[in-house]
Each structure stands twice: as structure tokens, then as C-alpha cells.
Amino acid sequence: MQLVVLAISLGLIAFIIWWFFGSHEEKTSDAQISDNQQESTIVVDGGYSPSTLVLKKGVPAKVKFQMNDSTACLSHVVFEKLGIDKDLTKQKMTAIEIPTDQATEFDYACGMNMFHGKIIVKD
């Protein structure tokens, strides 16, 4: 019995290390462009999906955060470089305008910096 528990525990630990620390492919997606306006939705539920969003340079962009998570952890989204700290719990969809005048990367995170996402602006 003891040995079985030990084996299961070791297996569990190995799984945790592999699952959380191993390298896993991240989902990336491109924004939809129509009428010289690009729009994309990021679903907030235990993280951001897609966690990496690619926008086209020079096309005005609106990124909508769809809040599917009701816990306090993800209630805010913070874009450090843009000085944006938005409360996502006020409504289901919160739109944030992202400047696309130059090719760059905007990292964003939840208020406690536990969850991360990225928006890439490219040509």
C-alpha cells in the first residue's frame, strides 16, 4: 500500500513538473481585418486564449476581452507599456484600443502578474 502511494505520488510530481514547467506550444492567432479596422477577441478563462495575438501594423486595432472567469484573479488586465489597467468585470466584453503605428510587442498580464499574454504588431 505504502509503496503504491509512493509510486503514485512520484508520478504525480513528475507530471506537475512536466505539465507546468515543460515547454508547451502556445496558441497564436491573427486578427481579422475588415474595412481598414482589425478586431480580435481574447477569451479570459483561467488565462488568455489566444495568449499571443498578432496585429497588422498601421491598421487601427480593437482587442476585445471576453470575461468568462468570475474569480478575482483575472479581474483586471494590465498593459504595462500603455498605462492601461482595465477592470474586466464591469461588462462581458471590454474593448481596448491598441496603437499599431509601429511594429512592437505589448505584454499584458492580470493584476497580480500571474497570467501573461502578448500582442505583437508586425508589418
Binding site: S9, I17, D45, G46, T71, A72, G111
Partner: protein, 631 residues
């Protein structure tokens, strides 16, 4: 499904949990509520469905993203306690429903309170913007009428009555008054305004009717810019966070592993009953608090930057705030930073009134900076002076003219030619020149009747600010393009440690680099030529009255044209940074001590924790921490 807030969920769950709380109170008296197990099962199941399920859902979603956070811990802790109790109930063992229920209730309370406090803290900033008035009294078709603030345009002529707020930024075209600018600059004394002076939107016109022309509206006003800047600072990163960011990303999985290890050690190696081992493992999960690590810096930054903005010190980012604490040397630009940048009359030798009258009569039409210093002095004494005639402007030397039928001149010794000058005046002239002052001679009817000494003087608070910086153990340096004598004179007036004179504008940055050899350097400046030095320095401090490019290059901006701001910036940064360190210390200590105790490390000496005690500890930690931040 009806959407209910965390606060409502908390109250609902608390009511549902009340029979279990009652049972906890009755326990020491060995009273057991009839059918307790069934009551606990039903109420806890409801609490799990209403309140814990969102945490499970979020934790599961995070898990699929290979992410783990606070929710993961809450979800694992509550679900293990709940499902074990379910199993125990069916097999007739002791149940632990109350643990699952109470952890959920308290986590909810924490979340609800945190939401409320967070929104009130960020509201403080939007309140700044609410300082703006809604309407302005704009001149249209020769009549003043109320116009909504959004419609006000650059170039509009706006009237502000005494007691009213100035709607946007602009330049006074008519009227004199005092303006209370404390909300924008932090300066508590009212500032006097006359035609040509700049006014700032949202400041209060105190005692005179004011007409001004709008120069900046909407996003461009000083207030809007300040709010934008502070917002960016609040979301910025301090380098000290890099450590915690790295830690918090591995924290939760590490805690999960620690819990498994705890279980294994108790159950496999120490032979404890499975239930006991499980309780220790659950305790480890429940007590860990990764939020404290993640929030230690942002909350302190948020409070620190907002507070400093109120004092007229704008800190652009967390990095500057941290760097300022390591600064060893503060380098100042001279003109416009240490000195006012406007020459003033410091000495009048001879018959004061007579000398100034003649000088004023000759200089009244001149646009030379020295002339405006003389005119300011004459105005200060409210002197009357005669009209001069036959003006002769001698380039680079001075002015000749006739006053009341007599020949007169104001200027350098080169204009003296046939004029006589008494020996005592000559001695005075040498003395003043040795003090690095520019000396102007005043001659009338063949005689030099007096001297006027002019100098760009230090700002009132410069000496005090520098002595306070020195008291903090900082080295102070002045950089200037002036010659050594002038620079040294100003330097010793304000008590600066080292004067570097004769610096060409493009050499300032090189000197800052050289000084960086001995430690980190802060550079304080205001001009276009200071921009490279502001950028090169570890911390650039720009005077708010300075040029736009200087403000753009600096990391800290002083809204008041006052060097005490440098001292204030250092003070606030130090305080905020210490607060960050303190927060991090508590966050670490709490987890470092809490986790081993929960794991049962100290059971040998009789220190074993009940789950409810743990919950209590966790709560008091989380709340103490919230209170420290927001109040």
C-alpha cells in the same frame, strides 16, 4: 443563471455555513447537532456549487493553459476536503465538510474586499480628472457664453470669474489675479498672474477677473498629461519585481509538490494515518498565498506614484523609483535649474535712486537681458525717471543718450572714454567682478556716478535643497558652460561640492558618464541641451518649467520650479521602495514559515495546526496586507 457578485455569494455562503460554525462552537461542550453530517453535507454541497465551482472552473481552464495560480490552490484544497468528506460520509468515517466550506467562504470574502479596495485606489486617479469643469465662458460674437468643455478650442478667448476654475491651459490676455495651483503643482501658496502669464486648467482663480486665450485643450492639457503619466507609472514594472515574477510562476506548482511530499512523508515514512497525512497536505495548499508576492510591488507603486503626483513630483516608472534609491551623485545643470535663469540686479553702488533713475531712462527701450534686470529693479522701487533723447545704441557696449540736457551712458567700461571715475568705485568694481557679477557703469555729465551689478542668482530654495541632499550623504555636482569664476561663485553660494565649468553643451552627457564611474548618477536639468545628459544619467530629473524635450527625456518631473522637489522625489522613492521591500519580506516570511508549520514540521514540539486555525491565519495575513496597502 443569475449573476451574483462575490459579496452576495459571500453572504449566502456564510449563512449556509452557519450550522457548521455553530457546531464548531459547541464542539468543546461535546454537543452535537442532531443529523450534523447530513446538514453539513447539504449546505457544503450548495456552497461548493454556488461559490467554489467558479474557482474549480477557472483553475481547470488555467490548468489546460499549463498555468497555476491562487485559484488552483483554492480549488485543490476545497475539492480534496469535500470529496474526501463525501467518501468518509459514505463509509462512516469522520467528515471535514466545514473545512471545505469555510475556506471557500473566506476566500470569497478576500476576493470581494480586494475588488472593492482595488477599485477605490484606482478611482483616486480618475478623481484627478474630475477636477475639470464641465463648461467654459467663451467669447463668441463679442459675447461670453457657456460652452461645453469638449467644444473649447485652441485660440478661444475665455473669461474666468473670481472663485471659478480655469477650464483649460492658456495665456492670460487681460486681468491680474492670484491662482491656486495646488491641485496640479502641489504648490500651496497662490501664484500671481498677469497678462502674458500661463495658466493651468483646473486650477482656481482666486480674486480677480481673468481673460485668457486657450493654448491647450483636451488630451494636451497639463492635467490630462499628468493623469496619463501617473497611469503609466502605476502599471510599470520595478526591476525588483523580476525576482518575484519568476518566483510566482513556479510558486503554485511548487506548493502542490510540497503538499504531495508532505503527504508521502507522513503516510509512507512516518506511518501516520492517511486522514492525518491528507489534512497536513491540504493545510499546505490552503495556507500558501502567492498573491502577496505578486501584488507586493504593484500596490506600493500605485500608492507611491499617486501620492508623489499630489506633491508635484511625477515619477514616470517603477524603474526610476528603484534607481533613485541607489543614486550616489546628483548632478545639476546651472542655468534654469540652480539659478532662476533670469539675471537680476544684486548691487547698486553710489546714490541708489539717482543711479537707477539714469539707468532706467536709458535702458527703457532696450531689449538686452541686462536691461530688463535694471527695469525690474526700477519698477520694484517705483522710481520715476525722465525721458531720454538722442539714443545711441553701441553694439556690445551699452547705450548713450541725453537726460535732462546732460550726456549720460549705461554700459561697460569701454564706453567710459572721457568720463571720470572715483577710486572707491574702481575698487568696488573689482570686488563685484571677483564675485562673478556683470558690472554696468552709469555715467552722467562726465562723471561715473555709480555701478550696477547684475547676476543670475540661485533660486531661493537651492541652497536648502543642496544641503539636505548632502545631509543624505549624496555628492552634489554642478555642470555649466559658464567660466570657472562665475560658476564657482554660484557654486559656493549654494554650497555645492564640485563645480565643473566651461562645459560645452554636447559634453554634458560625457561628464555624467565620467561621474557614473563612482556610482549611480541623477541629473537635474531643464534645457534642450540637457536632454542627452538626462537620458544618459541613471535617473533624469526634469524641471517642469523646462523644455518639452527635457521633460520627455527625464524619468522624474518636478512640477514646481523648485529644487526641493529633488529632495521630495528622493524621499517618496525611498519610502515607496522600502514599502515594496517590506511587503516582499512579509510575503516571503509568511510563506516560508506558514508552509512548513502546516506541513506538520513542528508537530514534534506540540505545534500542530487545526484547519480552522490555518484558515484564520491565512485570512489575517491577507487582510492585514490589504489594509496596509489601501489605508
Amino acid at each position: 443563471m443569475i449573476k451574483i457578485s462575490n459579496m452576495q455569494k459571500f453572504w449566502l455562503s456564510l449563512i449556509l455555513a452557519s450550522p457548521m460554525l455553530l457546531q464548531m462552537v459547541l464542539m468543546p461542550f461535546h454537543w452535537i447537532i442532531p443529523g450534523y453530517t447530513w446538514i453539513a453535507f447539504l449546505t457544503t454541497t450548495l456552497i461548493m456549487l454556488i461559490s467554489a465551482a467558479p474557482y474549480w472552473k477557472s483553475a481547470w481552464a488555467a490548468f489546460k493553459h499549463h498555468n497555476a495560480n491562487m485559484n488552483t490552490l483554492v480549488a485543490v484544497g476545497t475539492s480534496v476536503a469535500y470529496f474526501y468528506s463525501l467518501f468518509a460520509m459514505l463509509t462512516g468515517r469522520a467528515v471535514y465538510f466545514e473545512s471545505a466550506a469555510l475556506v471557500t467562504v473566506f476566500v470569497l470574502l478576500g476576493d470581494a474586499l480586494e475588488e472593492r479596495m482595488h477599485s477605490s485606489a484606482s478611482n483616486a486617479l480618475s478623481k484627478l480628472l474630475n477636477l475639470q469643469v464641465k463648461e467654459a465662458d467663451v467669447l463668441t460674437n463679442d459675447q461670453y457664453s457657456k460652452v461645453p468643455l469638449e467644444k473649447v478650442q485652441v485660440g478661444d478667448i475665455i473669461r474666468v470669474r473670481p472663485g471659478e476654475k480655469i477650464p483649460v491651459d492658456g495665456v492670460v490676455t487681460k486681468g491680474t489675479t492670484h491662482v491656486n495651483e495646488s491641485m496640479v503643482t502641489g504648490e500651496s501658496l497662490p501664484v500671481s498672474k498677469k497678462t502674458g502669464d500661463e495658466v493651468i486648467g483646473s486650477t482656481i482663480n482666486m480674486d480677480g477677473l481673468l481673460i485668457f486665450r486657450a493654448t491647450k485643450v483636451g488630451k494636451d492639457t497639463a492635467l490630462a498629461q499628468i493623469v496619463e503619466l501617473v497611469k503609466k507609472a502605476q502599471t510599470s514594472h520595478a526591476p525588483i519585481q523580476n525576482l518575484t515574477d519568476r518566483l510566482s510562476s513556479i510558486f503554485v506548482p511548487a506548493v502542490l509538490i510540497a503538499a504531495i511530499v508532505t503527504f508521502v512523508i507522513w503516510f509512507v515514512f512516518l506511518g501516520a494515518p492517511a486522514v492525518q497525512a491528507m489534512l497536513f497536505a491540504v493545510s499546505v495548499i490552503v495556507i500558501a498565498c502567492p498573491c502577496a508576492l505578486g501584488l507586493a510591488t504593484p500596490t506600493a507603486l500605485m500608492v507611491g506614484t499617486a501620492r508623489s503626483a499630489k506633491l508635484g513630483v511625477l515619477i514616470k516608472n517603477g524603474q526610476a523609483l528603484e534607481e533613485v534609491n541607489h543614486v550616489k551623485t546628483v548632478v545639476f545643470d546651472k542655468t534654469g535649474t540652480i539659478t532662476a535663469g533670469k539675471p537680476v540686479v544684486t548691487d547698486v553702488i553710489g546714490n541708489q535712486q539717482k543711479v537707477l533713475q539714469i539707468a532706467a531712462a536709458l535702458e527703457v527701450n532696450s531689449e538686452h537681458p541686462l536691461a530688463s534686470a535694471v527695469m525690474a529693479k526700477a519698477k520694484q522701487y517705483q522710481l520715476r525717471y525722465s525721458q531720454a533723447t538722442d539714443f545711441q545704441n553701441i553694439e556690445g557696449k551699452g547705450v548713450k543718450a541725453a537726460v535732462d540736457g546732460q550726456n549720460a551712458f549705461v554700459g561697460s567700461a569701454k564706453l567710459m572714454t572721457t568720463y571720470q571715475m572715483a577710486d572707491d568705485l574702481k575698487t568696488e568694481m573689482t570686488r563685484l567682478q571677483n564675485d562673478a557679477k556683470t558690472v554696468v557703469l552709469v555715467g552722467l555729465a562726465g562723471q561715473v556716478i555709480g555701478l550696477i551689478a547684475i547676476q543670475d542668482t540661485p533660486k531661493k530654495t537651492a541652497a536648502q535643497a543642496i544641503s539636505e541632499l548632502k545631509a543624505r550623504g549624496l555628492k552634489t555636482v554642478m555642470l555649466t558652460g559658464d567660466n570657472q569664476r562665475v560658476a564657482q561663485a554660484i557654486g559656493s553660494q549654494v554650497g555645492i561640492d564640485q563645480v565643473i565649468a566651461g562645459v560645452l553643451p554636447n559634453e554634458k552627457a560625457d561628464h555624467v558618464k565620467a561621474l557614473q564611474q563612482d556610482g549611480q548618477v541623477a541629473f537635474v536639468g531643464d534645457g534642450i541641451n540637457d536632454a542627452p545628459a538626462l537620458t544618459v544619467a541613471d535617473v533624469g530629473i526634469a524641471m517642469g518649467s523646462g523644455t518639452d524635450i527635457a521633460i520627455e527625456s527625464g524619468e522624474i518631473i518636478l512640477m514646481q520650479n523648485d529644487l526641493m522637489g529633488v529632495v521630495r522625489a528622493l524621499e517618496i522613492s525611498k519610502k515607496t521602495f522600502n514599502r515594496i521591500k517590506l511587503n516582499l519580506f512579509w510575503a516571503f516570511i509568511y510563506n516560508l514559515i506558514g508552509i512548513p508549520i502546516s506541513a506538520g514540521v513542528l508537530v514534534g514540539i506540540g505545534l500542530q495546526l487545526s484547519l480552522s486555525w490555518l484558515v484564520w491565519q491565512w485570512l489575517s495575513h491577507r487582510f492585514r496586507w490589504l489594509l496596509r496597502h489601501y489605508y
